[in-house]
């Protein structure tokens, strides 16, 4: 470790010119594709794109219209006509599961994107400015972070009401502290870097230093928590629906509610109502966490190298 600093090759080489954000992400992904971390990331990406495909083309993919209940006989076991069976009000489980991908991804996108849009700049500012504002923000964010996320989201959902957008808002509160923490700690670690010092010495304004130089470096930590918080957002949104605090009753697909409805029929051996929606959640969240952990293993060494 210590030998690195005295490495003559390193000392004589010019400072690396940082690639743009996507390049810094995609290059290592391609380079590492044969390692375990790379394989996990690509698998996760594949699963994510599969679900995005289902969500976008849901209207074309569903075998049965979901708007009217009792369109088919109730509680049919899986068959060629209904590949995943029908539920207690005669809706095709496969069709509901496909629509569910759309609502889940919508809520997830609203939740994590707003969290990113709030948490990232606030974390940047807090870490850069420091002092009392920083301490206060850290205290607030850490307190919220320590509180059970689902409970807070349930409370907000109960107050602002149902619907895709409202649930997205309710869960975003859980993830703002996460983006804040990660961005702030990245900011702290690059704040004193020579290139930032240099920019300041050359007379760059505070906001230029913050939003061009530091943000550029801090954003590389985002994809990992973006994937992991997305997985958690899917789970939390499904949890809220399961608790009866999620979407409107006539939403065409809602994995959490399906699992809640399935509960009453477990005792009489109706397994398909709970198995299939649950599997969808598991495959998507596992994909997202593979992506997150794979990226983490790929990006962390790069971060360490950049700093050494």
């Amino acid at each position: 470790m210590k030998a690195k600093h005295s490495d003559p090759k390193r000392a004589s080489s010019l400072p690396e010119i940082p690639l743009p954000f996507l390049g810094r992400l995609i290059h290592p992904l391609i380079r590492e594709r044969r390692s375990l971390a790379g394989a996990l990331s690509w698998m996760g990406l594949g699963i994510l794109f599969f679900f995005i495909f289902i969500a976008v083309f849901a209207p074309l993919l569903v075998p049965f219209s979901q708007t009217q209940p009792f369109a088919s006989p109730v509680l049919q076991a899986p068959s060629l006509q209904h590949l995943m069976g029908t539920d207690n009000v005669g809706r095709d489980v496969l069709s509901r599961v496909i629509w569910g991908a759309r609502t889940s991804l919508e809520i997830m996108a609203i939740g994590v994107l707003i969290a990113l849009a709030v948490g990232f700049p606030v974390g940047l500012l807090s870490g850069y400015v420091g002092g009392k504002i920083d301490r206060l923000l850290v205290l607030i964010m850490d307190s919220i972070y320590a509180f059970p996320g689902l409970l807070l989201a349930a409370l907000i959902a109960a107050v602002i009401g149902r619907g895709v957008f409202n649930i997205g808002i309710a869960i975003t509160v859980i993830y703002i502290p996460l983006y804040f923490r990660v961005t702030r700690s990245q900011t702290l670690s690059v704040r004193e870097e020579p290139y930032v010092e240099a920019a300041r010495a050359l007379g760059a304004k505070s906001h230029t230093v913050m939003f061009s130089y530091i943000a550029h470096s801090a954003i590389i930590a985002i994809p990992v928590i973006f994937s992991l918080s997305s997985a958690d957002a899917i789970l939390t949104a499904a949890g809220l629906s399961y608790l009866g605090l999620g979407l409107e009753v006539d939403t065409p697909g809602d994995w959490g509610r399906d699992l809640s409805d399935a509960q009453s029929f477990i005792g009489v051996g109706i397994w398909w109502m709970s198995v299939f929606p649950g599997l969808m959640i598991v495959i998507l969240t596992v994909g997202l966490s593979f992506l997150g952990e794979g990226l983490n293993d790929i990006i962390n060494p790069i971060l360490r190298k950049e700093r050494s």
């Binding site: 059970p148 409970l151 949890g239 598991v282 952990e293």
Partner: protein, 342 residues
């Protein structure tokens, strides 16, 4: 400075430092329930409730007063232990705090059981993975740690119900107790109360009901322990004092259990505090799946019955519990790792 003295100083400091956190959480709850756009009373009451009734409920709860006044009254009531009177159909007129305290032991019994399951499975699997680094078993355990952590808790609960309660008929699928009368309340923990009453039969009934909920919640939480124990074990195994122990010819098994594992567990305790947030969130879902009459069920019941004081009270008690646990975890940390205290 004497050793015990510094620990007490540390504990007291930590306790004082927890006050801002409590204060912030209470403020967040106030903010969510009263300030953010949306009308909690109208949202909670059934659609089509006449406006004058909504207005009357709001007035009776003091929600029509200025925010600063509401806020001061809210804080004053909480710190005098007065969480208000229920207005829901099930507990109308009862003290909110009394109802919550009645439900608290059920949640405590569930979460403690789940924590036990999670630590046993998590430390066990983490140890196996760490010792067999990069072998197939390590890969399988790591996969387990990743997957189990993102499985929806309620789905896992339903699957366990299908397998163990419906198909195999081994365990009850719902509730805390069945068959006989529950044991007389002393602590509220059915397992402890039945033992206090000397009723082994009741103890086993209570235990049977605990198995599936605790397994469900514990399994999901174990993924975190698996990963943390493995990572820390790998770090301690490669450290100098383990090398030294190896050089002295101490058997490998003994090195792992006596030297490496012990130090690998310290960082686990450090991050344990945050796991309680996941534990309590998971408990709400588990309580719903297994019809477990704890605080999570109470919260849902109060949301469904528009019991505003009960909703607020339950969340406030959760906030208190979270703060108290974070203090306890920190003090335990100071106890096992003296470096933390300075």
């Amino acid at each position: 400075m004497p050793k015990t003295g510094s620990l007490i100083t540390y504990a007291v400091t930590r306790l004082i430092l927890s006050l801002p956190m409590l204060f912030i959480l209470l403020t967040v709850v106030f903010f969510v329930l009263r300030v953010i756009p949306g009308d909690p009373i109208a949202a909670l009451l059934a659609e089509g409730t006449p406006p004058y009734i909504v207005e009357a409920v709001r007035h009776s709860l003091g929600l029509d007063r200025p925010y600063w006044e509401q806020y001061l009254v809210y804080l004053a009531q909480i710190f005098t232990g007065n969480l208000g009177i229920s207005i829901g159909q099930y507990f109308k007129g009862q003290s909110v705090l009394a109802v919550i305290l009645q439900r608290l032991p059920a949640t405590a019994e569930l979460t403690i059981g789940a924590m036990l399951v999670a630590s046993i499975i998590g430390v066990g699997t983490g140890l196996i993975a760490g010792v067999n680094r990069d072998k197939p078993v390590d890969l399988i355990v790591r996969l387990y740690g990743t997957i189990i952590f993102v499985i929806p808790i309620f789905w896992l609960g339903e699957i366990l119900q299908i397998v163990f309660a419906v198909n195999l008929g081994l365990l009850p699928a719902q509730g805390r107790f069945s068959g006989l009368d529950p044991p007389a309340t002393v602590t509220g923990f059915y397992t402890i109360d039945s033992l206090l009453a000397g009723r082994i039969d009741k103890f086993f009934i209570a235990l049977q009901h605990l198995v599936l909920p605790c397994l469900t919640l514990g399994l999901v939480l174990s993924g975190f322990f698996t990963k943390t124990v493995r990572a820390n074990l790998l770090r301690t195994i490669s450290s100098d004092y383990v090398e030294a122990a190896k050089a002295r010819g101490i058997p490998r098994g003994r090195i792992i259990t006596r030297y490496a594992l012990k130090n690998a567990l310290i960082p686990v305790v450090t991050v344990l505090g945050l796991q309680f947030a996941i534990l309590f969130a998971g408990a709400v879902l588990t309580e719903r799946t297994f019809s477990w009459p704890g605080m999570g069920s109470l919260l849902l019941l109060s949301i469904n019955t528009a019991d505003y004081p009960m909703i607020q009270g339950t969340i406030v008690v959760y906030a208190f519990i979270i703060v108290v646990i974070s203090v306890i975890v920190d003090i335990i940390n100071g106890l096992i790792d003296p470096r933390v205290r300075y």
